[in-house]
Structure formats: C-alpha cells, structure tokens
C-alpha cells in the first residue's frame, strides 16, 4: 500500500513529461533582422503583415524586405502555422491569387537558414525566420509575442 502513492506519483510525472517538454520547446523558428534594426519585439499580427507586405516600412523609414524559405521547409511550415495561422500550401495559394491578379509578388524565397542569415546580414531592412538551431552570426533575433 505504501508503494501505490509512489507509483501514482511516477505515472503522474510521466504523464506531465510531454507537456513539460512541449512547454520548454520554442515555436520552431526564430525571427531575425539586421543588427541595426532596433525593433524591440514583433507581435504575431505584425509579423503576418510584414510577410504579407501589408507593412512595408520599419519605424525608422527603411523599406521592409521579407524573405521566406522553401514551401516544404519544416521551418516555413512552423512559421506559417504559428504566424499566418495557415499551412504553407495555403499561404502559397494566397500568393498565387495576388500574383496573377497583378496585386503583388511574394517575398523572395531562400533555400536554407544560412542563406536567410546571410541575406538579412547584408540588408538593413530585411526580416526572415530561421530554425531554432541555426547559426545567428551577424543578425539579431527579435522576440515575438502572440
């Protein structure tokens, strides 16, 4: 009888483990900007508008230059789901409508985290997203909020 509470506690701990692990995980991406960009943080709403080209200038007047990753990249899937609240196929379909209606063109697509970091490092108005484990030399990570 004395062992039962221990077993229950152990089971409860095991049950809580996935939740605790999930809580410790990040969103699967990090938003990066040029080091000169002093934006303190970006909300989900601001991020989706930046990447949908509905916000085209930073507060200091620099033109926003968003860069996407390949549609099938896991980091783009994570970013699209969390920020646009759609899967990346749905976002691509949305851009098809904008392209063929002559309204706008999608952000440039880069092929890897390294390419995004290199692009953002070279372009003061750039904003991109990379995997959580990506090397971030020469760029600044912007905290994001809901």
């Amino acid at each position: 009888m004395r062992r039962l509470p221990v077993a229950v506690l152990a089971l409860a701990a095991l049950a809580a483990l996935p939740a605790a692990t999930a809580a410790s995980q990040g969103p699967g991406y990090r938003v990066v900007v040029h080091p000169q960009n002093t934006t303190p943080s970006l909300s989900r709403s601001e991020l989706t508008r930046l990447f949908m080209k509905k916000i085209t200038a930073w507060p200091d007047g620099k033109t926003v230059v968003p860069v996407d990753q390949e549609r099938v990249a896991p980091v783009r899937q994570a970013f699209s789901s969390a920020v646009h609240m759609k899967d990346s196929d749905a976002v691509a379909a949305h851009w098809q409508v904008l392209v063929f209606s002559g309204r706008d063109t999608p952000p440039r697509t880069l092929r890897s985290d390294d390419e995004v970091v290199a692009f953002v490092r070279e372009n003061p108005g750039a904003v991109g997203y990379v995997s959580e484990g990506a090397s971030l030399a020469g760029v600044r990570v912007v905290p994001t909020s809901k």
Binding site: F100, G102, R103
Partner: protein, 386 residues
C-alpha cells in the same frame, strides 16, 4: 492583341527567364505562369463552357505568362499574355498590362489595362490551381460573356488594417470595359426544299464606356474569412458586329453590374458563395452559386457546387424562349493535387436549362421545341501554375 505583340512579350519573358535560376523571383522582376488542358463531353448535342460537346472535345488548352517588373521601389509594371484554344477557336490576348505606383499599402494607383476586381475569380480568371473546378462558375464565363476581365483606364486600390485581425480592402476604377466576344444565331432565310429555317451566326462584342466602379472587401486572413462586393456601371454600352464600327446595342444603352461574395477557407475546408446581377433596359441577368470543397490529406480533394441563373425580361417580352433563360446545375469534383502547383481534375455536372448548356441555333431550336433541356457533362483535365 496581335500575335506579333504576344511574341514580343514572350521574347522578353524568355530573356528574363534566361537570366539565371534565381531570376524568376528576383527583387526587380518575376516571371510566373499557368495553364491547363481538358477533355470534356456532354451527353446530348448541347455545348458547355466552350470546352464540351456531344462528340467530346480534346482540343482545349491554354497557357499564360505573367511578368512583373519593379523598375523603382514603388513602381511595378505588370503584364499577362494568354494563348488558348477551345470551341471559340485559337485565342491570343493580353489579359492586362498596367503600371502600379504603390505609395503605401493603403494607396496604390493603377494606370493601363488592369484586371476588374469583380467577385472572387475575375482577377484570376484562368488560374486553375486556385479553385476546385476546372471551369469557373458559369456566370463568369458562360456564353453570355458577362464579366469583362479587365478595364482600360485608371484605378486605385489598397488595404487598411482594422485592429489585429481584420482588414478592409478597397478598389475604385473607371474607364472602358470590353466584354467577351459572343455569337448570336439569326434566321437568315428558309431552305426552299425542306422549308427549314437557315441560321447565320454573327460574332459580336459589347463595349462599355463611361464606366465607374468600386469594390469593398472585409477580410480576416488568419481566420480565413472574407466578405464583400463590387458594383460597376457603364454609362454607355455599344456593340461591334464582326469587324465593323461600334454601334448602338439593341438591348440597352447602359448597364449596372453587382456582385456580392463570401468565402471561408480554413485548413482542408473551403466554402464560398457569390451572387451576381446585371441590370439593363430590356433584360436583367442574375446568378448565384454555392461551393464547398474538402481536402482528404495532401492529394485528394472533393468538391460540390450548385449554381442557378436566369434572364429576366420585361413583362410581356417573350423574345428569348424560356429554356434559354434558365440555368441550374449541380457539379461534383474529384481532384488529385500532385502538388499545389499541379492538379488533375475529374468534374461532372447535371444541368437543367439552356441559358448556358446550349446547341448551335439554340434560340431557334428552343422555339421549335427540339432543344434538349437537360445536359450531363464530364470534364477531365489538368491545370498547373508556376
């Protein structure tokens, strides 16, 4: 547009494409396109959607190239060239070409020949990878040719955030619109040996001048909802018969076009509905459809569509036989999306009425009572974009 002009645009596009693997999506310019092919068949001698006949039509295909250039940060030049073949024969045209000055997302000025922002699909008329059915709902592209794809003139457009989730998109535009060419069958005489009427087909096009219009769209992109409408009025409607000069149009001197639409797209599910009405002196045309689609995983998609339209004549006017004034269809789609850029579509329709599904000399056949009122259609095709 003359084929030589189309060839010139194609040459420019190919030079752009030859600029390197990344050239298609550079900051300065982009090159994209779309196309499709279909085999379509009806079960009676009514044609449908310019692609289906009783014998079955294989010769339906199209391709378009879309070029965007950004010579200045705020200046974009857009053009889209189209080549196609269907029951109307070979078609080449410049869908649109315009310059857009983007002062801000809230204010963009367009000058040139620009897409008419009417309904969900008029701006992406032939892009099959943004819709579940190979063909558009028929009020867009039926034999009546009621929705012009572009206007020649000046417009402004923009989008403004309304809080965190919602936004208001607007368009205002004015100029001239050219409707899709259409054919009219006229009784030109009677065969002396049989006594049967002889029919002559006349090709004509309507042109709307002194046109002004606007669109408002309330959208919550992250929720997948948009709702809105478009109205435009052409103060002067003229008709060109064959290659002749513009002249009066017997049905009306002016016309007003109204659209209301609502759309919901979230995850695998999409639903949309639209209402359309054209008001003219002697006749109104109205139509609505509802459509739903569901994706079963990344590849398979099911869709259903119901559409109903009619032509309303003035009281006592029976100049258009009743079967020609009505359309009701139920469509089903089974699609296989190889990727979001390439889809295979098997669509079927059951249609009542001959407003859209009709034979040659439909008016005469209807008057004689020899027209088939019900039509079954199968459409098997593929559409792609890049």
């Amino acid at each position: 547009m003359r084929p030589t002009s189309i060839r010139a645009l194609l040459s420019v596009a190919l030079v752009i494409a030859a600029g390197g693997a990344g050239a298609q999506e550079s900051q300065r310019y982009s090159l994209q396109g779309f196309g499709g092919w279909t085999y379509a068949k009806t079960d009676v001698d009514n044609d449908f959607g310019y692609v289906a006949s009783e014998d079955g039509d294989w010769n339906n295909y199209y391709f378009a190239l879309n070029v965007a250039a950004r010579p200045l940060e705020k200046l974009q030049v857009r053009a889209q060239a189209f080549w196609g073949q269907d029951q109307r024969g070979e078609r080449t045209r410049l869908d649109y070409v315009f310059a857009q000055w983007a002062q801000s997302p809230e204010f963009k000025l367009r000058v040139g020949k620009a897409p008419v922002p009417f309904g969900i699909y008029s701006e992406v008329y032939d892009v099959g990878t943004v819709r579940p059915f190979y063909l558009l709902p028929q009020f867009y592209e039926g034999p009546l040719g009621l929705i012009p794809k572009a206007y020649a003139g000046v417009g402004v457009t923009g989008v403004r955030a309304l809080g965190e989730e919602w936004e208001l998109q607007y368009d205002a535009f004015g100029g001239e619109i050219r409707f899709e060419p259409f054919s009219t069958d006229l009784v030109s005489g009677f065969d002396p040996s049989t006594g049967m009427p002889q029919v002559r087909t006349i090709d004509s096009q309507l042109v709307g001048r002194e046109m002004v219009g606007g669109r408002l769209l309330l959208a919550a992109p992250s929720k997948g909802i948009d709702v809105g409408g478009t109205v435009f009025h052409a103060g002067e409607i003229k008709q060109r018969i064959g290659d002749g000069e513009l002249g009066p149009y017997s049905v009306t001197e002016s016309a007003t076009f109204v659209n209301a639409r609502v759309q919901y797209q979230k995850g695998s599910f999409a639903a949309r509905a639209e209402f359309f009405e054209a008001f003219a002196r002697d006749a109104d045309v109205r139509d609505f459809y509802v459509e739903g689609s569901y994706k079963l995983g990344p590849h398979w998609q099911l869709a259903a569509q119901y559409e109903k339209g009619d032509i309303l004549l003035n009281p006592g006017d029976e100049s258009v036989p009743a079967p020609i004034r009505e359309h009701e269809s139920f469509g089903l789609a089974l699609n296989y999306w190889v990727s979001p850029e390439f889809v295979l579509k098997l669509n079927a329709y059951a249609i009542d009425g001959n407003m859209i599904a009709r034979p040659t000399a439909a008016g005469l056949r209807a008057a004689l009572g020899t027209i088939e009122g019900s039509t079954q259609v199968v459409v098997l095709g593929a559409q792609f974009s890049f």
